[in-house]
Each structure stands twice: as C-alpha cells, then as structure tokens.
C-alpha cells in the first residue's frame, strides 16, 4: 500500500507545473494544477469537469465493486416479484422479463433488454473489479486499460435504474388486476442502483491511466518528453 502511494507521489512530482490536457468537450488546452482532495477542475470555456481529485478513490471503489458484484448475483438469481390473481401464481426474475419477450416473438427487443438490464451492468462491474485489482500492481498492466475502456462503455448501456422505474410503472398497471408481492431480487436491484452510482462517484479513472504500462512499451520515465510536445511544455 505504502509503495503504491509513493509511486503516485513521484509521478505527481515530475508533472508539478500541472498536466497539459485538451478539454474533451471543447478541445481547449489547459494545465491542470495540483488539486486539493475532494475538489474538481472545470474547463474555463465550456464548464466540463476536466479533472477531479477523489480521496482514496481506488480502495473505496474496489470495496463498492465487490459489494456490487455480490448484490448483482443476488438480484439476478432471486425472484424479482410474485403475482397472485384468480387463484394462480406467477413470478419473474430480471432475465425472465427478457425471456418472455423472446418467447412471444420479440427476439431483438428481448436481447436489448437482457443486455441493458443484465449483461451491461455485469460486464461493467466485472471489468471494474478486475481493473481495480490489477491497479494494485505498479505499473498497472497494459490490459487493464483495455478493460477499463470496455467497462466505461458498458456502464453507459447499463440501465438498472431505468428498469426499476419501469417495474414500478408495470406494477401499478397490474395492481388493479392482481396482488403483487415484491421479492428479494427487487430489493437487491434497488441496492445495486445505489452501489453503481456510488462506484461512479468515487472512481477517478485518471489514477489508473496515470500508472498504466504504456501500449507502445515506453518506460514511465520517458513518458513526459515523448508524449507531450516540447513546444508547449515549459
């Protein structure tokens, strides 16, 4: 643990005047100063948050990711809700919603639902967990960058919170016809929404990128000179 922090410290030292970057939303070049913990830097032109310093980002996110992985399994294996009507019972899981759509002839929609409600969140959390474990090594192995990229892409397509609201609307529609009993899966899915949001808030991807082993095989000490142009760097 101590070793890891020292490495970060050394990296920061070598960049002290501030790291040069271009705003991803407006391409304005700017230097990011050393930020006090818990603060953010915004682009002066477009207001995009270009950097944020999140205290203890890696360990907190790892703890949240472990919890999210466990809750994800519970949410997908237990019954989401049961329904009683006219002396009959029915129950469904998250994947059950997609499976029924498939059986009713809407295969493409079924795949989309399964992707957004089950696979995208699972890949997001699984890759995140792997990245955070790999990031405890120094330098971080190059494939962690690849997984982080995929993890972030899947995060954008994970829609558990939208699904929860969808279930609520469906339940209110059904409540007239039948008695609905929420299952463990429902509470687990609710907890998962909060855990995923907390992961996003606590994670600073920059910390992983900064310590990544470069794809072109350069050593960390060569980084500054070769990557950022000599003309712009002071």
């Amino acid at each position: 643990m101590l070793g890891m922090n020292q490495t970060i410290g050394e990296n920061r030292m070598s960049q002290l005047p501030g790291e040069l970057m271009a705003c991803p939303d407006c391409d304005l070049l700017q230097r990011i100063p050393a930020l006090p913990p818990g603060s953010k830097a915004r682009c002066p032109r477009c207001g995009h948050t270009v950097a944020s310093s999140k205290p203890d980002s890696m360990d907190r996110t790892l703890a949240l990711a472990v919890a999210a992985a466990i809750v994800l399994i519970i949410a997908n294996t237990t019954s989401l809700m049961g329904l009683q009507a006219v002396g009959r019972e029915a129950s469904t899981t998250i994947l059950g919603g997609a499976v029924e759509m498939w059986l009713q002839g809407q295969e493409i929609t079924a795949l989309l639902i399964a992707f957004c409600a089950v696979f995208a969140p699972a890949i997001h959390i699984g890759f995140m967990l792997t990245v955070l474990l790999a990031a405890r090594r120094s330098p971080v192995p190059w494939w962690a960058g690849l997984l982080l990229r995929w993890s972030e892409w899947h995060e954008g397509w994970g829609m558990i919170e939208v699904m929860m609201l969808g279930i609520m609307v469906a339940l209110i529609k059904i409540a007239e016809l039948a008695r609905v009993i929420p299952g463990i899966g429902m509470f687990a899915a609710g907890a998962l929404v909060l855990l995923i949001a907390a992961m996003t808030v606590s994670f600073d991807p920059h910390e992983v990128w900064e310590r990544l082993e470069w794809a072109n095989g350069e050593t960390p000490s060569m980084r500054r000179e070769s990557a950022v142009s000599k003309g712009v760097n002071p």
């Binding site: 759509m101 989309l112 990229r149």
Partner: protein, 207 residues
C-alpha cells in the same frame, strides 16, 4: 468568442478519447494510436456530422411505426385489446395515477422527439459554423446525453407486464411490433448522441 484560443486542433495535438492523454502525432491527418492506451486517435470523430444525421433520420423513420403500431396486445376470455404507447399513457391517467402517466408521457413521447430536434438543431448550427450560444448548445448536448437512457422506460414496462401477466387462458399480454421500433428509436438516438462530436460546436470560433 475570443480570437486565437489555444486548442488541441490548432497546435496539432490530439487528445485520446479513451484515456485523455495529449500527444503530438507525426502526421495530423493520420494520428495513429494512443501511445499509452492503444486506442485509435482522431482529431475529431470521423464523419461525425454525416453519421449523426443518418442516425437521426433513421430514428425519426422508426418513430412513426413506434407510435402507430401496438406495443401491447391484451387478451382476456372475452376480448382482445391493442395498446399503443399513447393509449397506455391515457390508460394510466384514467386509472388515477396521473404522476406515472406524466412520467411515461415525458419519457416515451416527449424525450425522443426533443432529442431528435435537439440533435438536428446542434448539427445545423455546427454546419452553419455558428459562433453564438456555444455554452447553451453544449448544455443542450449534455442534457441529450443524460436523458437518452430514460426513454427505455416503456420497453421495460412492457417486458415486465408481459412477463407477469401470463395467466392463460384467463388473461395474457403479448408484446406488439411497436415495441421493436420504439426500442430502435431509443438505441439510434443514444448512438447518435455518442457519435456527435461536442468539440465541433466550438471549432468555428477557434480560428
């Protein structure tokens, strides 16, 4: 805005869209790959304007069958009833849950249309090289990116209604083909928002 703003594109510097590393490629026309994370570098997202237009037009075409075709077919012993997205909203309203009717109306009807118009507006202003209201336009873009996913709401409502109400032969619900087109609208507009390059809003004021 100000003349002579220092941007990456002016100095021939490329920012990696994946890891944020700023690098100076040997040839700006073919920047190659990011030395750190290996992602393909692009000064601006490739053909962003044409691709976004294509996706918006495709989404708009799908929007018509999405609203006309039934999204749900309810069967009981005595009757069969087709529901479109709008009639589902009306049904929610009539059964007394107007807050939910409002949520579904906003998520399913208004957000997709608003997203399509907002993206079209952004594209037109970029193509006209407008330098006015850039801060408002970037804010509009961020809203489009943020709310996009919530349009999937109705798809989930239909899926779980279908999954739960399978009490044959008394009562059952089948999905209709409207839901496929509706899902297509949502996915196409989400991809369109990902394809649009927000930096192009500012490019005409860089020179």
């Amino acid at each position: 805005m100000r003349a002579g703003v220092l941007t990456g594109i002016r100095l021939g510097l490329v920012s990696c869209e994946s890891c944020g590393l700023l690098s100076r490629p040997l040839r700006v026309a073919e920047p190659g790959h990011c030395p750190r994370c290996g992602e393909e570098l692009e000064l601006r997202r490739h053909n962003a304007i044409q691709r976004t237009w294509a996706l918006i037009i495709a989404a708009f075409i799908c929007y018509i069958p999405a609203n006309v075709l039934p999204v749900m077919v309810s069967n009981t012993l005595v009757s069969t009833e087709d529901d479109t997205i709008l009639s589902g909203v009306v049904l929610l309203y009539e059964t007394g849950s107007w807050p939910l009717a409002l949520i579904v109306l906003i998520a399913s009807v208004m957000i997709p249309l608003a997203k399509l118009s907002a993206l079209a507006y952004l594209l037109i202003t970029v193509q006209r090289r407008s330098i006015e209201g850039q801060n408002d336009r970037i804010r509009l873009y961020r809203i489009v990116e943020f709310v996009g996913r919530w349009s999937m709401l109705d798809v989930f409502v239909i899926a779980f209604t279908v999954a739960l109400i399978q009490l044959q032969p008394l009562m059952s619900v089948e999905p209709g083909y409207g839901v496929l087109f509706f899902a297509a609208v949502v996915v196409l507009t989400m991809i369109a928002a990902e394809t649009f390059d927000p930096r192009s809003i500012w490019d005409s004021s860089n020179e």
